[in-house]
Symmetry: C2
Subunit: 226 residues, 2 copies
Amino acid sequence: MSNNSERKKSTRLSREARQAEILAAARASFEKNGYENTTVAEIAAGLDLVEGTVFHYFGSKRGLMLRVIESFYQEITAELEDGLAAVKGTRNRLYYITRFHLHTINRSAELCAVILRESRGLEPDISAEIHRLNRLYTGHLIAVIKAGISAGEIRSGTSPTLVRNTVYGNIEHVLWDRVGDGKPVDVERVAEELTELVFRGISAEETRLEEGEVAALVKRLNRLID
Amino acid sequence: MSNNSERKKSTRLSREARQAEILAAARASFEKNGYENTTVAEIAAGLDLVEGTVFHYFGSKRGLMLRVIESFYQEITAELEDGLAAVKGTRNRLYYITRFHLHTINRSAELCAVILRESRGLEPDISAEIHRLNRLYTGHLIAVIKAGISAGEIRSGTSPTLVRNTVYGNIEHVLWDRVGDGKPVDVERVAEELTELVFRGISAEETRLEEGEVAALVKRLNRLID
DNA sequence: ATTATAGTTGAGCATAACTCAATAAAATGA
DNA sequence: TCATTTTATTGAGTTATGCTCAACTATAAT
């Protein structure tokens, strides 16, 4: 290298500090511009670094993306677990999970969009890893459904996978609508409608009058007759 | 250009013929390798052409992709319309649509995957156009639900959009599973389970007492009256 | 102060989408 | 049949960006 070209006199950070810094900047860029429209050079420039440094720590642009996704999944999975622990009853839990996911998507629409795009991508390694994180996160819904079946609240024979696909597939479409037109989601309303549809669809209760209403009526009639 | 370099003595086709040829080759490549892993040069080479020719006709790689998608949507939309015309009753129609879509995805998994990936992409023009085609295709389900509400078979207050998101969102997840592990889908089983969940979820029927329960009650009531 | 470690650099490579002026095959017209 | 026009096709660039790597130097260790 010619010694007249000025080398940047950068403050050098520890491995961990630099990685964290890059990770945060990358997340911001991906959220703002999406994966394809973000360049590594641009992430680096925002931190007064050059591309090479980023590649040194993360190997590839997709590797960087994957680390961003991992930290996001860790966040929301932990948050979901905390919240869900306090909720009792299958329908309430179903509602809670639905509402939580809608809320997450409403908060972090762009990042969720990036994650979903990447999880459907063609890099088998990346997809598989995101898939794994997703199964951890959506596993809670599966568990709720299985418990509901055991407790007799949900029809035996109900496929937990079908329910998972129904809930998360539906909400994904909500996301794409949101990303498309930018309008925020009416979280409570959609959560209630979706929960109602799904719970009616899989509930073991044979009636959908108000809780216990028909049973009480039948009891009263029978008593009257007797 | 130096005149010792051999120029290819190609048979020249009409605009229409060449476009059709390129379109077919592009579809095959996209299906086989996905959008990202397909190069325009490769599509051209397969037809003994050069990149320039493809760009001349389609402007851009994404433009070419969009044309492939358009023709696919036209195919399946027409096919769905034909089949649906012969089916009567809300539940049957719901089942038919669900089954048809699962069948389509099972037949053309790779192309469907490419379409979905692109429709979630960042090119607003492309996404909007695919969105439009999709609304035409999925509009039939919306119409079925609305008709069902009018006929009193489906609870008034049911959001047709929610139902659309539920059905197509669910099936999309089936697609990603299929693409992931390559295992073909049990079309009939999933169609039946999904239809059952959704129809129960939105059906106007208010009671479904246990087998014989209503009959017994009626008998008792009649006896009392007598 | 010297040495070792490792964070950082920047020039350069490879690939693939895209452009465009040049070229020749076919169509048109005399 | 020949000349002219039209247009399908070419291929040599240009550009953008992910990625590599050997050189370089700030900092810590001895």
